[in-house]
């Protein structure tokens, strides 16, 4: 089947059917983090918890190294990944800074600047 042509938006991947399909196991694991009991079980042995949800190697590696861009590339959805971030007390500016390769302060300064334009 010929690949569909997709809209290219710089720095952005739409969470569409292709990503949803690829990331299902990862997102399902993250959905389980709505429960404190599951969060604690994950923290005791992250690798075993990933295996329980059938994550592939790429997903497992991204989770264990806590690399958000890698999780996204592996089909992770931002809202579900945020629940994993919550376990490590990462807020959205930590996550933003990590993805854009700047410090949290620099990331915050960029946001403030956007308000002055």
């Amino acid at each position: 089947m010929a690949p569909k042509t997709k809209r290219v938006i710089p720095g952005t991947t739409l969470f569409d059917g292709d990503m949803a399909r690829k990331g299902y196991a990862l997102n399902k694991m993250c959905f389980s983090f709505n429960s404190e009991e599951n969060r604690q079980e994950f923290l005791k042995d992250p690798g075993a918890y990933c295996d329980k949800f059938g994550l592939n190697e790429q997903q497992k590696k991204a989770v264990i190294s806590l690399q958000v861009l890698d999780m996204l590339a592996a089909g992770g959805n931002a809202y579900f990944i945020a629940k994993l971030g919550g376990i490590y007390k990462l807020d959205m500016q930590d996550v933003g800074a990590q993805q854009t390769g700047v410090t949290k302060e620099e990331f915050q300064a960029k946001l403030v600047a956007a308000g002055r334009e």
Partner: protein, 278 residues
């Protein structure tokens, strides 16, 4: 018949939950945001709604990708909040309005909107925080109906479909045989992007034009595809679809009662727009 008194569109960033729980409303960071609300509180005191219909999107509390509806609606006696995993405090349940829920379900399915009906429904921060912001002292008499739109997994309903959905909600509420006064909320946005190398993207120029056009000419939004809207407002900025549905639910003409716009709250351009039906 029921009366739609107006509508309020407002951001719903989870982070706000901590500010409310910690009483930080007058801190330097939060003041420009929270100072937007007293005029809207005064308006609500004047128009005295009995019911709030809340158009929002779930962020993985009630819905997972195993059963992901485009449009869903609550039909429960009560709606509970719950642990969402990112450490914001859980708030007390909100009262439902099952008569209005079923009237909406009957009307909207007849109008060819293919709803998912929810006789139990957990409501996340996108439902609870706007209610907490608009009624800082809980209005225990207020009844609610949650209407949830998919803004999480593409394909999303188009701006055109959302506006038509809102207009069908308008017709349904106006045909409801009740003396209730109804306010419609639309929550989320405005421009922000949480993920990818474009994280932190904000578009003040578009947001301000959007808020303007939403009042005077909501069809203006339908010129954009959802891909356009993501490019213009970010992957989460697309939550403006909830604002658009809310605007549709207010019918033909409205006038702005109050607006506020502040950058940033967390990674987000925080908007507030209260409109009165005329």
């Amino acid at each position: 018949m029921a009366k739609i008194v107006g509508g309020i569109n407002v951001t719903h960033v989870p982070y706000i939950g901590r500010a409310i729980a910690g009483n930080l409303q007058q801190d330097a960071y939060w003041k420009p945001f929270f100072d937007g609300f007293p005029p809207v509180h005064a308006w609500l005191d004047k128009v005295k709604p009995d019911v709030a219909v809340v158009v929002y999107n779930d962020h993985g509390l009630n819905f997972f990708l195993d059963k992901m509806p485009t449009f869903s609606i609550g039909a429960a006696a009560e709606y509970s909040n719950a642990d969402e995993g990112w450490g914001i405090p859980t708030v007390a349940p909100f009262k439902g309005d099952q008569d209005l829920s079923w009237h909406l379900i009957d009307s909207l399915i007849e109008a060819e909107f293919d709803l998912t009906t929810c006789q139990e429904m957990l409501v996340d921060h996108a439902f609870t925080l706007p209610l907490e912001l608009l009624w800082p002292t809980r209005n225990a008499a207020l009844r609610t109906v949650p209407i949830c739109q998919n803004t999480v997994q593409f394909p999303l309903p188009s701006a055109k479909r959302c506006l038509a959905f809102g207009r069908a909600i308008n017709k349904a509420i106006e045909s409801w045989d009740s003396d209730a006064r109804v306010v419609v909320l639309g929550t989320g946005g405005l421009s922000h992007q949480l993920e990818g190398t474009r994280a932190g993207f904000i578009n003040k120029k578009f947001d301000l034009e959007f808020m303007d056009k939403l009042v005077s000419d909501p069809d203006w939004v339908t010129q954009y595809s959802n891909e356009d809207l993501v490019e213009l407002t970010g992957t989460q900025g697309i939550e403006l679809l909830n604002w658009l549905t809310c605007r549709g639910a207010l019918g033909g003409k409205v006038k702005a009662v109050h607006t506020n716009y502040h950058i940033p709250i967390s990674n987000t351009a925080a908007g507030l727009l209260a409109m009165e039906t005329v």
